[in-house]
């Protein structure tokens, strides 16, 4: 596939813009508060769009389309039963503690609520995870542009990483967030015409359903297995994802999604940059509105691809690889011009995912690793400099990880695996920490550690399919195994935390003001119009998400 001058013009314009934003924001970066927390001054609509855009990296756009082809509409559970309820919960119940405590980051909240060791465990595991995610994002991008346009992998990785590095160094978190908002709209404008053309090309929605019915029956499932989201979840053998509804709701809907959306500093950092408590609480709830429609933009093209592309299009080196379905669709339907926009949207998704990870990494590194353990009494200017250095070496580490990631197949499954190790038990820690004053520091630490170990043990003791069954149990798919791993990790963390808390000495209640639900005065909002009230918005969003589940039942 070759590009026209118009395509290069569009891509060039976008690159000039991201760097321009960084340059324009440079003069506002005076203190570390500006650099790491945007001076806590942003409007809710901006932080809300950044909240979902930071998560809309390569793994989302490419991985979700790939899963759309591989598993069908069940992939939308990542949104409708996964992300949305968790986003509502974090906005209504947890944000008051994040934004209201004096913490700069999620790990720092853990130090205020518990102790140093729990913070260290979280800070280090989180730092590793951010580098991992942004490395995967970069690898996906490099490989994609290589297959699609013949660009050298190393060149694409270095150019995109350099652009992100420059705009974060110049404009800090604000630069990252502003660019994330623009990236969000680019992704929508870049992929929406594709959905429209794809569905039309397949003869409308009924045409898509008809063709996917053949795919489903050929694979030995009921005709609706690819187009009905809940009907085939009675047992793992009835659907392509190989999971029943208990594993889905408990593993993905509860442990994994709440673990990610409620505790991952990458997204929480966006909400904490909001200009007020009210704006911070509305951030994830407002974000849930565009979020619930994202399946139509990122998953549907993968499903449509299965209907309109020949099966040979998904074969690479003799193996079925769905990671190329999104670019294949662009290639099939987009003329020059729009193709440039579609590729810009791909670039944008890689960059937003990477920038989100890099800004979260430099903050956690500076506040939670460098400041407490390396140098604790330096000037504000010094920490800002450390943050800039962390931005550089975080980016370099990510590039290194990108080359490591080249050994794995379906990127989405791999990422879920990493999240299930680290995030899933964490939600139990926060839930108990925020809502149970009796929970102790030792309880939290040992609970978290046993949760992570339980997840690792589960991974070692089980297998997938007939190819490599583990000693204890063989799951039908990687995804089913990850969901159950997350669920088990959550339960182990929850039980161990409670057990250890009951035999260790609790903290004085007075120390827990602003950190625990029962010791914190309710947020007084005063007279606000209904559309600015988090609770009212939460109910509206919940009803909308429920409706989507019912429509595509």
């Amino acid at each position: 596939m070759s590009l026209h001058p118009i395509d290069y013009a569009i891509i060039g314009l976008y690159f000039a813009f991201v760097l321009g934003i960084g340059w324009a924001l440079k003069r506002f970066m005076k203190t570390s508060l500006d650099f790491f927390e945007s001076g806590r001054s942003l409007a809710a609509w901006i932080t809300a769009l950044a909240f979902i855009s930071a998560n809309l990296g390569a793994q989302e756009v490419i991985g979700m389309a790939a899963s759309g082809a591989k598993y069908g509409i069940m992939t939308s559970h990542f949104y409708w039963v996964g992300a949305i309820p968790a986003m509502i919960f974090v906005g209504v119940f947890m944000m008051p503690f994040y934004y209201g405590s004096r913490a700069h980051s999620v790990p720092e909240y853990l130090r205020l609520r518990f102790d140093e060791k729990t913070r260290a465990l979280n800070a280090v595991s989180f730092a590793v995870m951010t580098v991992f995610s942004s490395g995967i994002s970069m690898y996906v991008m490099g490989r994609l542009f290589q297959l699609l346009l013949g660009w050298d992998v190393n060149v694409s990785i270095v150019v995109a990483a350099a652009a992100v590095l420059v705009y974060i160094l110049l404009g800090g978190l604000t630069s990252s967030i502003y660019n994330e908002v623009v990236q969000f709209f680019l992704i929508v404008f870049g992929f929406l015409p594709l959905v429209f053309l794809g569905v039309m090309g397949a003869g409308g929605w009924s045409g898509v359903e008809a063709r996917l019915a053949t795919v489903a029956t050929d694979a030995g499932f009921a005709a609706g297995a690819w187009t009905e989201s809940w009907r085939h979840m009675g047992s793992p053998s009835e659907n392509p994802m190989g999971i029943d509804w208990v594993g889905m709701v408990g593993g993905l809907g509860f442990a994994m999604s709440f673990g990610y959306w409620c505790t991952d500093f990458l997204v929480i950092q966006r909400a904490m940059a909001a200009r007020s408590m009210n704006a911070a609480r509305r951030t994830p709830i407002l974000a849930a509105i565009p979020k619930m429609f994202m399946p139509f933009i990122v998953i549907l093209p993968g499903m449509v691809a299965l209907a309109v592309l020949p099966t040979e299009a998904m074969q690479f080196n003799g193996q079925t690889d769905y990671n190329m379905v999104m670019p294949m669709m662009l290639q099939k339907y987009y003329p020059p011009g729009l193709l440039g926009l579609g590729l810009t949207a791909l670039f944008a998704s890689f960059m937003s995912g990477m920038a989100g990870n890099v800004t979260a990494f430099n903050t956690v590194w500076t506040y939670d690793i460098y400041k407490p353990y390396i140098k604790s009494d330096a000037s504000d200017a010094h920490y800002m400099k450390v943050g800039r250095h962390a931005t550089v070496f975080g980016t370099i580490l990510s590039v290194a990880t990108a080359y490591v990631a080249m050994n794995f197949g379906n990127i989405n499954d791999l990422l879920q695996l990493v999240f299930s190790f680290i995030n899933a038990p964490l939600f139990a820690t926060f839930l108990l920490g925020m809502f149970w004053a009796r929970c102790t520091a030792n309880g939290a630490f040992w609970g978290l550690l046993s949760g992570i170990l339980a997840c690792a043990a589960h991974y070692l003791l089980t297998g997938v399919g007939t190819a490599g069954p583990g000693p204890l149990h063989a799951y039908a798919s990687d995804m089913a195994r990850n969901f159950w791993g997350a669920f088990i990790a959550w339960i182990v963390c929850f039980v161990v935390t409670i057990a250890v808390s009951l035999v260790t000495k609790p903290r004085a209640l007075d120390d827990l003001k602003g950190l625990v639900y029962s010791m914190t005065p309710r947020v007084q909002e005063g007279p606000l119009p209904w559309y600015n009230r988090p609770a009212v918005l939460a109910v509206i969003v919940a009803v909308m998400a429920l409706a989507l589940n019912v429509v595509f039942w």
Binding site: G20, V181, F185, F189, Y334, L338
Partner: protein, 74 residues
């Protein structure tokens, strides 16, 4: 006061929209065989142009409002 995102974002989308619309109007029409005969550049370009213009208008209105509030405060 921080830079209002709506200005740079509006400018970017107006420029992108204008590029696509122009290409859709004056470029080679044979390329739309791939997109089911629809001039997708023109339509997407117009949509993006409109979005960019709305962003600029919103930013400009907020700036005017801020100015009049500042004047009242003096």
């Amino acid at each position: 006061m921080l830079l209002d995102l709506r200005f740079p974002m509006g400018l970017l989308f107006v420029a992108l929209g204008a590029l696509l619309t122009g290409y859709g109007l004056f470029g080679d029409q044979a390329v739309y065989a791939a997109s089911l005969g629809i001039n997708v550049n023109l339509w997407t370009g117009l949509g993006i142009l409109l979005f960019g213009a709305l962003m600029l208008a919103g930013g400009w209105r907020a700036m005017e409002k801020q100015k009049s509030e500042d004047r009242r405060a003096h």
